[in-house]
């Protein structure tokens, strides 16, 4: 076990992938000499060369489209989107090409492309630097979508994503890049839990709290705090957002009968809507209260002086937990 930051763990995972497979190439803006604006690719161009770690022109559709071409030729491109808000110029290439090529060609062409996206808020940035666009991609068939919440998963899952033959959106919670954790660098990604599986991050019995990415830490803190009040929260880290590992979530909800989902993205049509709808479908008779969503508001991501109001925090999550438990909460007395 090595103690390392989240960012360093991804760097180590990328390095492993570059070492293990000569077909792995990294592409993106400023990822070479600079090592990326978050330094996630620090040192990799120096060690692997300009053909393995490619500084590209400033054009996201261009990056994604050439990644498709490279994959057509047998490469495994790992694309870095500099910030979440800059993925949209590449949306057409992702939705119409990356997601559909395998279906289009009846399996003849695989596009093992990994798209790394530093996402989410909490770092005091201006517009377009704090978005949570994951639901656009979970609604896009042909893509797999994962999000990591801790250094160990970051290290392991980035390697699993790169070796997956399907395209993977890999969402990295940028505000956790400096968080430290224990990482087993010797782990074999092939024998580690699959990136498609959810994990019980904190076991509990009274209420199921589902989340992913940056809020896993917040949710676990909430569980700790709730324990003081005698409430036992089971925190589930989804890890995979498409497909969601419903068997793990179902098992928990059948036990607790209560479900809270929290994410930074806006509520309408977010991942929480899908989880709430699917779990209601699958566990209707086990549910003792309506699934509760504690999410960002349905607003453009706000300027930084207001972001703490937008982002679910420990207190808002616990308020949602109270709602699920029919305990006094901020909406007590409101009908519906």
């Amino acid at each position: 076990m090595t103690t390392m930051t989240f960012g360093a763990a991804i760097n180590a995972g990328l390095r492993k992938s570059l070492e293990n497979d000569p077909k792995v190439v990294l592409m993106g803006e400023d990822i070479g000499t600079l090592g990326g604006v978050f330094r996630i690719t620090d040192g990799l161009q120096k060690d692997f060369g300009k053909h393995r770690v490619i500084d590209t022109p400033l054009a996201e559709s261009g990056i994604m489209g050439t990644a498709v071409g490279l994959a057509y030729r047998g490469y495994r491109p790992v694309v870095e989107i500099q910030f979440d808000g800059f993925i949209y110029p590449a949306f057409d290439q992702i939705v119409c090409q990356v997601a559909k090529m395998h279906y289009r060609t009846r399996g003849a062409v695989t596009l093992p492309i990994t798209i790394r996206v530093p996402f989410g808020g909490g770092i005091g940035s201006p517009e377009h630097h704090s978005e949570s666009p994951e639901a656009y991609f979970t609604h896009t068939s042909g893509l797999r979508v994962v999000s990591v919440s801790n250094p160990q998963d970051a290290y392991t899952m980035v390697q699993q994503a790169i070796s997956c033959n399907d395209p993977v959106l890999f969402f990295e919670p940028k505000r956790r890049y400096h968080d430290k954790g224990e990482v087993d660098l010797g782990i074999d990604p092939a024998s580690a839990p699959d990136m498609g599986s959810a994990a019980v991050a904190t076991p509990g019995t009274d209420v199921t709290l589902v989340t992913y990415g940056p809020l896993v830490k917040t949710a676990r803190d909430a569980a700790l705090a709730a324990a003081d009040d005698g409430i036992s929260i089971e925190v589930i880290d989804l890890r995979s957002l498409s497909p969601v590992d419903y068997s793990t979530v179902e098992a928990s909800v059948r036990k607790t009968g209560r479900l809270v989902i929290t994410h930074e993205a806006g509520q309408s049509g977010g991942v929480g809507a899908e989880v709430a709808a699917s779990i209601t479908e699958r566990c209707f008779h086990y549910l003792e209260s309506a699934p509760v969503r504690v999410t960002g508001f349905d607003i453009p991501y706000p300027y930084s002086k207001l972001e703490m109001h937008h982002l679910p925090d420990l207190d808002r999550i616990l308020d949602g937990v109270d709602r699920a438990l029919n305990r006094p909460n901020s909406l007590s007395g409101l009908e519906g």
Binding site: M64, M101, H102, V109, S242
Partner: protein, 376 residues
């Protein structure tokens, strides 16, 4: 007066065969087609006749309800055959939806040419068996794929090249311009082959480009050529120059092949709503097939025997095409779930299971079997 850089000088359209079939010499382009002897000329002519025959047959099949849609290439035979015939087997082609003539030259099987147009598949062939990607419907997207593929060629140190086909309308798309940026920056072996057929559905080329399309690329640092796209030899020469430069590490080249879409945009289109019939007439006089035929005639090669032979071949192809079309088996309902992912997917597996149960509940015996069997 302010002297400014207002546009590029250009040597003008390259032509090696006049509309009347006269072979005119061009000191710079001639060497690239000097190996094209009588046999090859006859071969090109044969290809063009067959490609036009495929087009006519497919159009008829569409009219008869056997194809859902068809994008005719009438008028663009020289541009497609001339270029495709000099692309080597190891090179890779990224085309749009109209390059059925290219597909023919590439050796794509007849049923595969029409598979997607019948609605039996989202694309027709396995790209790796013919080194030609699945046709692209999103305008311009394939130019980036070709550029990325060429980056791969460069990394591999291979002496092959990629070529991408797109239309005049496509030049307005961001993707095409980004492809020029990437290709120029990385100096990769890719050829941009633009068929300027004067129309993007109902929009004339003047709406897309305020100057010659061939002028675009030099502004990105990419050399370009403008050739008569209805002149099969000029197209061959230009494509060879470009592919040769690419293979030798000389970087990308842009070719504008000036041609004309003589038919509708697709069988769903009605060009009488927007096109001056005189314009069509002018271009009919420059028909690429007529032109090579006239050349053969001047050379004394256009015998009755040849005409019969070629017609016979074309008719055979048409017959095979029709047969392949009407006999093509329908896909199975469960095909709807195939190939979305290459790895198992729990969400989709569940939907497939539910749907096969649903079909079974309707009393469909095939589906009932499926519902009981494995889901993948």
């Amino acid at each position: 007066m302010i002297t400014e850089h207002k546009g590029a000088r250009h040597p003008g359209l390259v032509q090696l065969i006049t509309p009347d079939g006269e072979r005119v010499s061009h000191p710079e382009y001639d060497p690239w087609v000097q190996d094209v002897g009588d046999d090859q000329l006859v071969g090109l002519y044969t290809d063009m006749v067959i490609v036009r025959r495929i087009d006519t047959e497919a159009t008829a099949l569409q009219r008869q309800g056997e194809l859902a849609l068809w994008p005719p290439l009438l008028g663009q035979e020289a541009a497609q055959v001339g270029s495709a015939r000099v692309v080597r087997t190891e090179d890779f082609i990224f085309s749009s939806y109209r390059e059925n003539g290219v597909a023919w030259c590439r050796g794509v099987e007849l049923p595969d040419i029409i598979r997607m147009w019948r609605g039996n598949a989202a694309s027709g062939w396995d790209p790796y068996t013919v080194n030609m990607a699945a046709p692209q419907i999103i305008i311009g997207a394939q130019t980036l794929h070709a550029t990325g593929y060429a980056m791969g060629i460069q990394f591999d140190g291979a002496d092959t090249a990629a070529i991408t086909y797109f239309g005049d309308g496509a030049t307005s798309q961001g993707d095409v311009n980004e492809a020029l940026v990437f290709a120029a920056s990385f100096q990769v072996p890719v050829v941009f082959f633009c068929q300027n057929n004067h129309w993007a559905i109902s929009e004339p080329v003047a709406l897309q480009a305020h100057t010659r399309i061939a002028d675009r690329a030099p502004g990105f640092g990419i050399p370009s050529m403008q050739v008569d796209g209805n002149d099969v030899l000029a197209v061959m020469a230009a494509t060879r120059i470009a592919m040769d430069r690419a293979r030798r590490g000389g970087g990308p080249t842009f070719i504008e092949a000036v041609t004309y879409r003589m038919g509708p945009h697709t069988t769903a289109d009605d060009p009488t709503r927007y096109r001056d019939p005189n314009e069509l007439e002018d271009w009919a006089a420059k028909d690429p097939l007529k032109r090579v035929k006239a050349l053969l005639e001047r050379k004394g090669l256009l015998t009755d025997q040849l005409l019969d032979e070629v017609e016979g071949k074309a008719n055979d192809v048409a017959r095979q095409l029709r047969k392949a079309c009407v006999e093509m088996p329908d896909p199975a309902p469960s095909d709807v779930f195939r190939h979305v992912y290459s790895t198992p997917n729990t969400w989709l597996d569940r939907q497939e299971e539910h749907y096969s149960r649903y079909l079974a509940s309707l009393g469909d015996p095939a589906a009932a079997n499926q519902a009981e069997g494995a889901t993948r």
